[in-house]
Symmetry: C2
Subunit: 349 residues, 2 copies
């Protein structure tokens, strides 16, 4: 078995730490671990396989001799450092939005479109969390009925915005309670206090009135599923939950699909757990810390009873929505012999 030198870029972040946890859990063949971060947190200690590692400051030279980079330090950092890693022969699984829609960069969900890895030129993009959990579900349902149109409303947890966001929700909730509900609390990470509130605003607003988060669901789903003309829309809402994203999904099919057919088909997907009885729906707290995508409340759409279904899709956004897929992609690269596939990559991107 080949063992690899693996760099985790953003090793002190929420997803970076989850990546190291999952590398360890899944016994990924790590020869040497290189935890990297910005100068702000470099020097901190992280644990891996029971041993402490000092986090190094990420610089272009940090990637010398690295085989695989799992990057999760923000789009700006990836823009600057990912090409440096590729130039030095590493293959990068990038968890940021920076390269996702680049033509030459495969956007891959393990178990959904692994074949796309074969075309990588050094960079593989990991989709956005709110898109990721939908993909194993959509792929199977497309197979059985043909996706004709998809409408998504999200209920996204604070952890999607990182550690500071979780801290803010925690602190603001404490403050509100300590004040006996007389204060609403501050909002520094979020645009409004999130405690006991909702914020229909994730990432920046674009010209058409959509947020970038909503745009990601639309554009990334089309790319991953290979359906460039898929009719899809999304409304993304932050909710006062710490971990797990939930999504209310309405699908119009090209051919009739009954709830029973959808349940039966989704039961065959290893990445998905189906809740069959209506009252057994998944909650975000149930999904936290688990690997499958949980799907419940599958029922005929009363606005389109012939060819429509509604459903409720929940997953741990830090695991399946980010770190787990990154590690699974590294496993697929290893299995498919695609690590260090090429050195000519740097110029391509």
């Amino acid at each position: 078995m080949t063992k690899y030198t693996v760099a985790v870029l953003g090793a002190t972040g929420l997803v970076g730490q989850k990546i190291m946890e999952i590398l360890e859990e899944r016994n990924f063949p790590v020869k040497t671990l290189k935890p990297l971060a910005s100068s702000r947190t470099a020097g901190e200690t992280v644990m891996f396989q029971g041993k402490p590692y000092i986090v190094e400051e990420a610089k272009p030279e940090s990637f010398e001799g690295v085989d695989i980079v799992l990057a999760s330090a923000g789009a700006g950092v990836s823009e600057k450092l990912v090409p440096e890693a590729v130039k030095r022969g590493a293959v990068v699984v990038d968890n940021t939005s920076h390269f996702r829609l680049h033509e030459d960069v495969p956007l891959v969900v393990a178990g959904v479109n692994d074949e796309a890895l074969k075309n990588h030129q050094g960079i593989i993009a990991n989709p956005n969390c709110s898109t990721m959990q939908l993909m194993p579900v959509f792929k199977k349902l497309h197979e059985i009925g043909g996706l004709q149109r998809v409408i998504v409303s999200t209920y996204q947890s604070a952890s999607g915005a990182g550690k500071e966001a979780m801290d803010e929700l925690r602190e603001v909730t404490k403050e509100v309670i300590a004040s006996d509900f007389k204060t609403r609390g501050k909002a520094e990470v979020f645009q409004h206090p999130l405690a006991f509130n909702l914020i229909p605003h994730i990432d920046k607003f674009m010209e058409d009135g959509y947020t970038k988060e909503e745009f990601k669901v639309v554009a990334e789903s089309r790319k991953i599923l290979g359906l460039p003309n898929l009719r899809i829309t999304a409304t993304a809402v932050r909710v006062p939950v710490f971990v797990s994203h939930s999504e209310s999904v309405t699908i119009d099919f090209e051919r009739p699909v009954s709830p029973e057919q959808a349940v039966a088909a989704l039961k065959t997907v290893p990445e998905v757990t189906v809740f069959e009885r209506p009252e057994d729906y998944p909650t975000p707290q149930q999904a936290e810390g688990t690997d499958p995508v949980l799907v419940g409340r599958i029922r005929r759409d009363t606005s389109n009873p012939e060819t429509g279904l509604n459903m409720w899709v929940v997953a741990d956004n830090l695991r399946i929505g980010a770190a787990l897929n990154a590690v699974k992609l590294a496993e697929a690269l290893d299995r498919m012999g695609l690590v260090r596939k090429t050195g000519k990559v740097a110029e391509a991107v």
Copy 2:
């Protein structure tokens, strides 16, 4: 000016108290107030216009001499007592689900279908909160573009389930924080602990996999708008917010409607406040304690760019969603001369 003897049935409940607050705020012509409740809370004192009133136990005889009943004590109580009130000549605005879909009972949203009041036979039904806030919006949009299909995902606050539900959310949140997030807390009113969680389950499940809450949005919207064949579906989700319901809404129109046209049209509706700039979206905390329905994030539906719009609709579920409409309906009955319209009513229902 005629002054009325007004009974508030469910006077110790969340909506009942809000009704008395709003009767006072809006100077409704109350000659005598009769706060009524079950034996459990009868004997408690409530305040109205600065004076204390002892809550009486609601019995058939309690309605002797009463002109208007504003009922909000649960469907079972309304089933039993509302006909008794009608038999004694009162007109009842009932806030429960019990009579809403009865043929002979007008289901009315003030400002939307007041004309339906003319057909009342003693009972007028107040719609469910999650339906109510959509109606002024849908009515106007139907006028300009024709509603062809509607898809709703709700984000409903704890107060929709009453005072005990709010208390449970408050207590469970305190408990979770006191334990430093080691416990999830109890669930007695709700099906799962609601603190930092979501529950896609409001009211009971029906045979088709929908909850009754979802069914209410479908059936009540059709009845109020007079569109018995409207294609409409809903997914109803409880969120850890105390007051205000939010709804993510996708509408297919019969004719193209641009976001600008929708904004301009909704600006003419007195019950609606439109947030025009994308970044000025309403939050539930903003809506709390206010009377208008707040609508923001109006944008073209990327899955139906020609004739579709998405939007975000927020309102105080205790006011506009319940008590305010009940009082506005009483005002309309007074204005239209429909109080004590008829005595032959009791048998009809």
